[in-house]
């Protein structure tokens, strides 16, 4: 579990994690349209062990595909918190990086990293399937090196993340039990 000095088991586990990434695609923006070609015959992401997950409980990777309205941000946070550690987040498109073409919109967020820990950003408007696969490969590298520890980061900096989330969501906020698994759910 400790990443500075991973044991043999952790090493093998990271290898397995790298080759078996189950994807929960959250189609918030236009980028979602590039995900089906990534998974199907032409680009065949299943070669890398990628596979669609039906529910957050089973998923490893959450793909945020584009701009996030504050309303969908709330759902994204809830979904992210329901996933089990280790979990990764990939953000597609300029909109998740700096707002993209929605930079002065009144109801979208600009930088996803402020609300949940992002492992890889894929730039572009919109990124092609090749770019997504490139992103997956760099995520695999991070997993292998034991650097993809988003869940740990989220737990350690929970105060900061919750403060940022509260700033956009206001009083319309999520209950604690969605992220705190300590005493069971």
């Amino acid at each position: 579990m400790c990443t500075d000095n991973p044991g043999v088991w952790e090493y093998i586990a990271n290898w397995a994690r790298k080759h078996s990434i189950w994807v929960l695609a959250y189609g918030t923006g236009c980028g979602a349209i590039e995900l089906p070609p990534t998974m199907t015959s032409r680009y065949d992401a299943e070669r890398f062990g990628l596979r669609g997950a039906a529910t957050p409980r089973q998923a490893d990777l959450l793909i945020i595909s584009g701009y996030l309205a504050t309303k969908s941000l709330k759902r994204v946070i809830r979904t992210y918190e329901q996933m089990y550690d280790p979990k990764y987040v990939m953000a597609l498109g300029s909109c998740t990086i700096n707002g993209g073409m929605y930079w002065d919109s009144y109801n979208t967020i600009k930088k996803l990293d402020l609300y949940i820990p992002v492992d890889v950003y894929v730039a572009g408007c919109m990124p092609r399937p090749e770019a997504i696969i490139q992103g997956i490969i760099s995520l695999q590298k991070r997993i292998e090196e034991g650097k993809a520890e988003g869940a740990k980061k989220y737990r350690e900096n929970i105060e900061w993340y919750k403060k940022n989330q509260r700033e956009v969501l206001g009083d319309d906020f999520l209950p604690d039990y969605t992220w705190n698994f300590e005493g069971g759910i």
Binding site: G49, R51, I185
Partner: protein
């Protein structure tokens, strides 16, 4: 003594590894049918290992915790009554007169344990999946039971081992050629029980978000996948034992089960999913009719 223990320990492991590899091969072949490369054949083993190594798994209470465990226990204890090989002392399982009936009972124990666990999870998708699964079971079991009754009447025994022995001596003695109609009727149930596509009603990801498995993640899901792998191989072996003369060596067993598995695969790659009532309707109509004809022929003979 040592050999006996080894025999018992080897049983679930062989079933698990072979079952998982079959599922991986299925994914790969389906990929080829879609004209893509598909994952490596050992992909499912990697998936299971990864799931066992997940650091968290939320539980909703004791029954939720026990559901997958009852599933694995039920399936493994069922496995011990299905002989993998038909002569020698290796991998013969426990057999007694009437074990076919016991196996038929134990085969549903796993799903029932699962249903209890899902109930405590309280997810509507899970409950829907269980309901759909149990409804489907009503359809699947009728032709299967009829085929089993024909088989028991024909060989005048309810012991899987005896049935295998009576089929010895050449391909013409196999149950599938002696009782072709019963075999065809049971084959439809078999496809259904294997979760092949026209009958993959309970865990339809597009409709009920993977049904009973919805709320299960991490180690619970790993246990469910483990038991799915073991159960798949168990059913393949049971059908080989009952209708294809059993197997003398492990290689023959793998050959025969793989042939049977290919029928499942090709059916599921081509057909789309039935609705719940369509599946039950279909099962009660054609396979049941074929099974009843086989029963009448058997009674007249």
């Amino acid at each position: 003594m040592g050999m006996k223990i080894l025999n018992i320990v080897a049983y679930p492991f062989i079933a698990f590894i072979v079952g998982m590899l079959y599922m991986g091969i299925a994914r790969n072949i389906i990929g080829r049918i879609h004209r893509r490369w598909g994952p490596p054949v050992f992909q499912n083993l990697i998936d299971v290992f990864k799931l066992y190594r997940k650091r968290e798994a939320g539980s909703h209470g004791v029954m939720f915790h026990l559901g997958p465990i009852i599933m694995v226990t039920g399936i493994v204890s069922c496995l011990y009554f299905v002989p993998l090989l038909n002569n020698g002392v290796w991998l013969k399982g426990f057999s007694f007169e009437g074990d076919l009936i016991l196996v038929t009972y134990l085969m549903v124990l796993g799903s029932l344990g699962m249903a209890l666990g899902v109930g405590q999870g309280g997810v509507p998708f899970g409950v829907m999946g269980v309901t759909r699964g149990l409804t489907r079971l009503i359809g699947l079991e009728i032709p299967y039971f009829i085929a089993i009754i024909v088989l028991m009447a024909h060989y005048n025994t309810a012991s899987i081992n005896k049935i295998m022995e009576l089929q010895a001596g050449g391909i013409t003695h196999w149950g599938m050629f002696k009782l072709p109609l019963a075999f065809i009727a049971s084959l439809f149930s078999f496809w259904g029980m294997m979760g092949a596509s026209p009958f993959d009603i309970p865990g339809a990801p597009q409709e009920v978000a993977s049904g009973p498995a919805t709320e299960f993640g991490g180690k619970y899901l790993a246990l469910m996948m483990t038991s799915r792998g073991i159960f798949g191989f168990l059913k393949l072996t049971l059908w080989v034992d009952l209708f294809m003369g059993g197997a003398a060596t492990i290689l023959i067993l793998i050959g025969k089960t793989f042939l049977l598995f290919l029928t499942v695969l090709f059916v599921s790659a081509v057909y789309s999913r039935f609705k719940v009532e369509q599946a039950v309707d279909f099962m009660w109509r054609y396979p049941t009719l074929i099974g009843l004809i086989a029963l009448v022929i058997e009674m007249v003979r």
